[in-house]
């Protein structure tokens, strides 16, 4: 059943002007970034590995932002348009509903990733880093997006309102992104280092740095970044399970 929800979502949400416009915007952002990195006199002085790392951060950052914004409305619109009742009157379980929506959000991430492939290939030309770069963007991006989508879905089930879900999700995304872009010199104290270790965005950027700049390409050499990311996904999943339990307890029509 989740497959039908995913198909409906793709046709209704992703396969439209609105979603394609997201892809156009992300492609323009990647174009400007890669063009400046390769042709701007000052920026092109960067070592190629640092240049790739910078592009990797832009790709992951843009993808997380777009997917978070999209995921914030994908469940809540069903409540706001009052279509949730009819969905749950049909033989669709909440798990199928969530799984279908999750697949549609992951499809959007895959579409953004597909758009980024030519940029990854052109910027990593001659560096032998194209394959590790592609592999780690896919792997880390998927883990990061998965964690955020699960978290946003949990928030959606709690709030059932696009505005509140979007605001909360963006605050969380910003709150995690800002310390992640701080330089290492600003992370000298214990508190900053602990935050850095548990922050999923920080772990994605650090792992990309480890792969692209230090050329530590094996998964074993990146476990210290991957384990916290998996833990973040698990925590988001547990939160979603709790939100689903609460949702089923309260019913589709919540008595305020």
């Amino acid at each position: 059943m989740y497959f039908h929800i995913w198909q409906k979502e793709i046709k209704g949400e992703l396969y439209t002007w609105k979603s394609m416009l997201w892809l156009l915007i992300s492609s323009l952002l990647f174009s400007v970034t890669s063009y400046l990195l390769l042709t701007n006199k000052e920026l092109s002085l960067l070592d190629q590995t640092e240049l790739l790392w910078l592009l990797g951060k832009v790709i992951i950052g843009v993808a997380l932002l777009i997917v978070t914004v999209d995921a914030s409305s994908v469940i809540t619109t069903e409540f706001e348009k009052e279509t949730a009742e009819s969905i749950f009157l049909s033989p669709v379980s909440l798990a199928d509903f969530i799984l279908g929506k999750l697949l549609s959000s992951l499809t959007l991430w895959l579409a953004i990733f597909a758009v980024s492939i030519p940029y990854i290939l052109v910027t990593s030309a001659g560096s032998h880093l194209a394959i590790p770069f592609l592999a780690y963007i896919t792997f880390l991006g998927t883990l990061g997006v998965l964690g955020f989508v699960l978290l946003v879905f949990a928030i959606s089930l709690f709030f059932r309102s696009s505005k509140n879900t979007l605001t909360t999700s963006l605050i969380i995304l910003l709150g995690l992104s800002i310390p992640a872009v701080f330089s290492t010199t600003l992370k000298n104290d214990v508190a900053s280092q602990i935050i850095s270790r548990v922050n999923p965005i920080d772990n994605i950027f650090s792992s990309l740095d480890n792969v692209l700049v230090d050329y530590h390409v094996s998964l074993l050499q990146n476990w210290q970044f991957i384990v916290p990311l998996i833990a973040f996904c698990l925590l988001a999943f547990i939160l979603l399970l709790f939100a689903m339990h609460q949702f089923q307890r309260q019913g589709v029509i919540r008595s305020e």
Binding site: T16, S27, S31, V32, S34, Y35, L38, V122, A125
Partner: protein, 181 residues
């Protein structure tokens, strides 16, 4: 009385001379007894954007400890004959060595970022608090080649082509929707 006056004047004169000697001994008009040896190559070559390390060592060749020794770099563009602002070239423009004991040798190291193509000459300057004249090293030459951008010929088709393809897909999508309706 006259004898006393002469004695006092002589004493004051001697005291002044001693004071002048003492002051002169603290800041002499000679460079400090320091020897700066460059351990890296005489000519360092690379492409703009590369990093090189200038290594050397400083030795106190004198018989006494030298205090407040500072070493710093001086870079000159040999093409324009102008000194270069080290702002982007090195994060550490100067190294404070502090006191160097007699015959003591201390290492020197600077990581240099080649910022702009050209030919440059670099010297390490060392000054001590007790000397008016600094000590300098031999010249290290930098030969920095122009950085050729990685692939500006390939990035333009991708940077322009990808958004154009997506825009084209948008129009196809829009057209198909209209036809379906």
């Amino acid at each position: 009385m006259n004898m006393t006056k002469t004695f006092i004047t002589t004493c004051v004169g001697i005291a002044s001379l001693l004071f002048a000697f003492a002051v002169n001994a603290q800041t002499t008009n000679l460079p400090p007894p320091l020897s700066i040896q460059i351990l890296s190559q005489n000519t360092l070559s690379g492409v703009a954007g590369d990093f090189v390390t200038v290594r050397g060592q400083i030795m106190n060749t004198g018989a006494t400890t030298l205090n407040d020794v500072t070493t710093y770099l001086s870079l000159v563009d040999t093409g324009t004959k102008l000194p270069v602002d080290l702002e982007d070239w090195s994060a550490e423009k100067g190294l404070y060595m502090g006191s160097i004991d007699a015959k003591q040798i201390l290492p020197l190291s600077w990581k240099i970022h080649f910022v702009k193509a050209g030919t440059y000459s670099l010297i390490i300057v060392a000054e001590a608090a007790s000397n008016q004249i600094p000590q300098v090293s031999t010249i290290t030459h930098f030969d920095v080649a122009v950085k050729k951008n990685l692939n500006p010929g390939q990035v333009l088709p991708v940077a322009l082509g990808t958004p154009i393809i997506i825009l084209f897909l948008l129009f196809v999508l829009s057209y198909r929707k209209k036809v379906d309706e």
